[in-house]
């Protein structure tokens, strides 16, 4: 499992989102989770509907639990 925690990120443009998709589509690790806890990171993921594909969590504990 790989958790990518964007909690401290205050700007997420398409370059960053492309990397998230790339990571998600790698064979290993099979389970990639993204923590996007603020509007600054969540909003771009929603507009591009990457929330459909990526496992996005609102907090690090939630991502670690997989809930």
């Amino acid at each position: 499992m790989l958790v990518i925690d964007l909690s401290a990120v205050d700007f997420l443009a398409s370059a960053g989102m492309a990397v998230l998709v790339w990571a998600h589509r790698q064979a290993e690790p099979a389970d990639v989770r993204v923590v996007a806890s603020s509007r600054l990171t969540l909003r771009p993921l929603q507009l591009t509907r990457l929330t459909d594909e990526l496992a996005v969590f609102l907090s690090l504990p939630a991502a670690l639990e997989g809930a």
Binding site: S14, A18, W22, R43, L47, T48, R49, E53
Partner: protein, 368 residues
């Protein structure tokens, strides 16, 4: 001269390196760089460790130095394995700025590191400038002149990034189709520079081809997404594609991960359309389309994120600011001039990303 925490050897090297014609030290102020130093300075280039090793194999790199001389030439190096090719990513690199308060006539030979760095800095600055020029040229060569369309007033803008080397990924198109309909395309390729500009050229051509076949928007984007996903380099392209059908005053659109478009109704009320309909080209497989009425006195705005998003501006607030400004823009007699002013206001006159937009107004009674 002021001491800078943790910059002892770097500061010392800089101070020793700059002397006047008589060999006397030139007053140099050395301080730690912070992220703000990099903003809006397109010519700052920090080579990564591998580049430095290649260019000066005999030098051991111990820190980063940035020196701005009278030509604003920048020289620096870093041992950060991540390097920092461009400005904002350099935050946190152990770096010093030396501000020269006297005239520098030569660099002292024994300070070979700094001497070598100066030449590296110039080379990288020149490389960066060449790439920026090439990318800008590629992009500009593909900027269409918007055709005259009966019944429509069009304002289009394409402004390459004003700072840094970020030019290259945005485009727009306005296409008259054989049936009398008009297709509007706006898009943004991830990344910047020559690679983004060439990907943009391929995607743009593919969209034009499918558009001229008059495939519906969902199929245009689906086909292009399949093509894009097969490019040698993985690509991520956002695109809003809309077709105006004058016969039934309609607009049919699909959206591949792009910002929503804005429909401004005759009473001035803005409405965002097509929000989060589908994933970007190269990522998504299905691109559902929607259809809305597009009667006379209605405006359509398609835009890229340049005017609304930056490292210092929240996207949501940026879109809000744009929507709020549209009313005033519509009221004026000259939409082109109003747009130039609005872009200037929204970006503070220094946009750090490409800007592309299409503003369409349905003229009263002007159905073709």
């Amino acid at each position: 001269m002021t001491a800078a925490d943790g910059l002892g050897p770097v500061a010392e090297a800089v101070r020793k390196a700059f002397v006047d014609a008589e060999g006397r030290p030139v007053a140099v102020r050395v301080r730690r760089l912070d992220a703000a130093d990099f903003r809006g300075r397109g010519r700052v280039v920090v080579p990564d460790a591998a580049t430095v090793a290649e260019l000066v194999p005999s030098q051991r790199v111990t820190g980063a130095v940035v020196v701005a001389d009278e030509d604003a030439t920048v020289l620096l190096h870093t041992d950060d394995p991540e390097g920092a090719r461009l400005a904002p990513t350099a935050a946190g690199v152990d770096a010093a700025t030396a501000e020269l308060t006297g005239t520098v006539s030569r660099l002292r030979a024994e300070a070979g590191v700094v001497d070598a760095l100066h030449s590296i800095g110039r080379r990288l600055t020149a490389q960066l400038e060449r790439e920026r020029t090439l990318a800008a040229e590629l992009s500009r060569s593909m900027v269409p002149a918007a055709p005259r369309i009966p019944g429509l007033d069009l304002v289009t803008r394409y402004l390459p990034a004003a700072t840094g080397s970020k030019v290259g990924g945005d485009w727009f198109d306005v296409l008259r189709l054989g049936s009398g309909a008009t297709a509007f395309v706006i898009g943004d390729v991830v990344g910047h520079g020559v690679t983004a500009a060439t990907v943009m050229g391929q995607v743009r051509t593919a969209i034009r081809s499918y558009a001229l076949l008059e495939l519906p928007p969902s199929k245009v984007l689906r086909n292009v997404s399949q093509l894009t996903s097969r490019f040698a380099e993985p690509s991520f392209v956002t695109c809003f594609y809309a077709v105006h059908e004058p016969a039934d005053h309609s607009l049919t659109y699909a959206n591949a991960g792009h910002l929503p478009a804005v429909l401004v109704h005759a009473d001035g009320t803005p409405e965002q359309i097509g929000e989060a309909l589908a994933q970007p080209l190269g990522v998504g497989a299905e691109f559902p389309q929607e259809k809305v009425a597009f009667p006379p006195e209605t405006d359509l705005l398609l835009y890229t994120d340049g005017p609304v998003e930056s490292r210092t501006r929240d996207l949501t607030l940026g879109i809000g600011g744009l929507l709020a400004a549209l009313g005033g823009l519509r009221a004026g007699p000259d939409a082109g001039t109003a747009w130039d002013r609005l872009i200037h206001d929204l970006t503070g006159g220094s946009h750090d990303d490409d800007i592309a937009l299409i503003h369409v107004r349905r003229r009263d009674g002007g159905a073709a």
